[in-house]
């Protein structure tokens, strides 16, 4: 509405609408670089903040078995590892309290070399917290000799 009125007014004074548009574009282009005022000699390096990443490691664990999952840490910080679910089947109501081994380590070949481990039952709090520098790590879940049968498990990993 405002542009229409401006164009009409300009036309009545013999200025073509496209000329008004061109003028506005020039003024805008001139105005934009001026933003920043007196600090034009300063440059600011962008700061990249790495927020926590959440990853879900789900699988099945056989009696005497183990499984691992690799993840990449981008900044130094804590990795919280939660054994969130252990169940004897996919059906609801089959949650198990059997203890499992839960560990953090580094991938080595096709394996995961453990550096920190706990024995835990399924819960919604992380029993394993590891301070990690940037790099590739792995979480291992394994039977500590208590599994009576195959189970499904879910592990939540929150890391930087």
């Amino acid at each position: 509405m405002r542009m229409s009125r401006t164009a009409a007014t300009s036309a009545s004074h013999g200025i073509r609408p496209f000329a008004v548009a061109s003028l506005l574009a020039i003024v805008s282009a001139t105005a934009l670089p001026a933003c920043g005022g007196g600090s034009s000699n300063n440059t600011t390096t962008p700061t990249v903040t790495v927020g926590p990443q959440t990853q879900l490691f789900e699988g099945q664990l056989d009696v005497g078995g183990s499984a691992f999952y690799s993840f990449t840490v981008q900044a130094t910080g804590n990795a919280n590892v939660m054994l969130a679910s252990v169940a004897t089947s996919n059906a609801p109501g089959t949650s198990s309290t059997v203890p499992l081994g839960l560990a953090v380590g580094a991938p080595l070949g096709t394996d995961c070399t453990i550096t920190q481990a706990v024995v835990a039952t399924a819960a919604l709090q992380s029993p394993l917290v590891a301070n990690l520098t940037p790099g590739i790590y792995c979480v291992r879940v394994y039977d500590v000799g208590a599994l009576p049968t195959r189970v499904n498990f879910a592990v939540r990993i929150v890391h930087t």
Binding site: L24, V27, S28, A31, L32, A34, C35, G37, S39, T54, L56, E58, N80, M82, A84, S85, A87, N90, A91, P92, G93, S95, A122, A123, L124, Q125, S126, N152, A154, R156, V158
Partner: protein, 130 residues
């Protein structure tokens, strides 16, 4: 267009505003769903801090239907929820299921343990979280 072009000039104000999303807050969330025979009704919520989550099966219709209650994390299992802890419960005003949690996203809900008829059951649950 000019207004937009100049809107970014903040004069001497050197502060910047980072994009933000609503911070999770403690509270109680209620939800209602119809449970089919053999079905599940799952609700996701965010815990803002370490604390205790209380899940209450407040009502069922038909009344006094025995159901399973569960709590876990969002995942690939039951109704999109990997359950950590489950109980069987009748509706009531006191929490039938509690769990200690840390800050994060969780799920809780109800499931049929064999007592849901072919017409289903209308369930109302409340989840109180830190």
């Amino acid at each position: 267009m000019l207004t937009l072009a100049f809107a970014g000039c903040g004069g001497n104000d050197s502060s910047t505003t980072a994009p933000s999303s609503p911070a999770p807050a403690a509270g109680t969330e209620s939800f209602t769903a119809t449970l089919a025979p053999g079905g599940t009704a799952i609700h996701q919520f965010n815990a803002s801090a370490t604390g205790t989550v209380s899940v209450t099966l407040t009502t069922t219709n038909p009344g006094s239907t025995l159901l399973g209650l569960g709590i876990g994390i969002p995942g690939g299992n039951i109704g999109g929820c990997d359950l950590t802890k489950t109980v069987q419960a009748l509706p009531g005003s006191a929490a039938q299921l509690t769990a200690s949690v840390e800050a994060g996203t969780y799920c809780a809900g109800a499931f049929d343990v064999g007592g849901v008829g072919r017409n289903g059951v209308l369930v109302t649950l409340s989840v109180a979280h830190p």
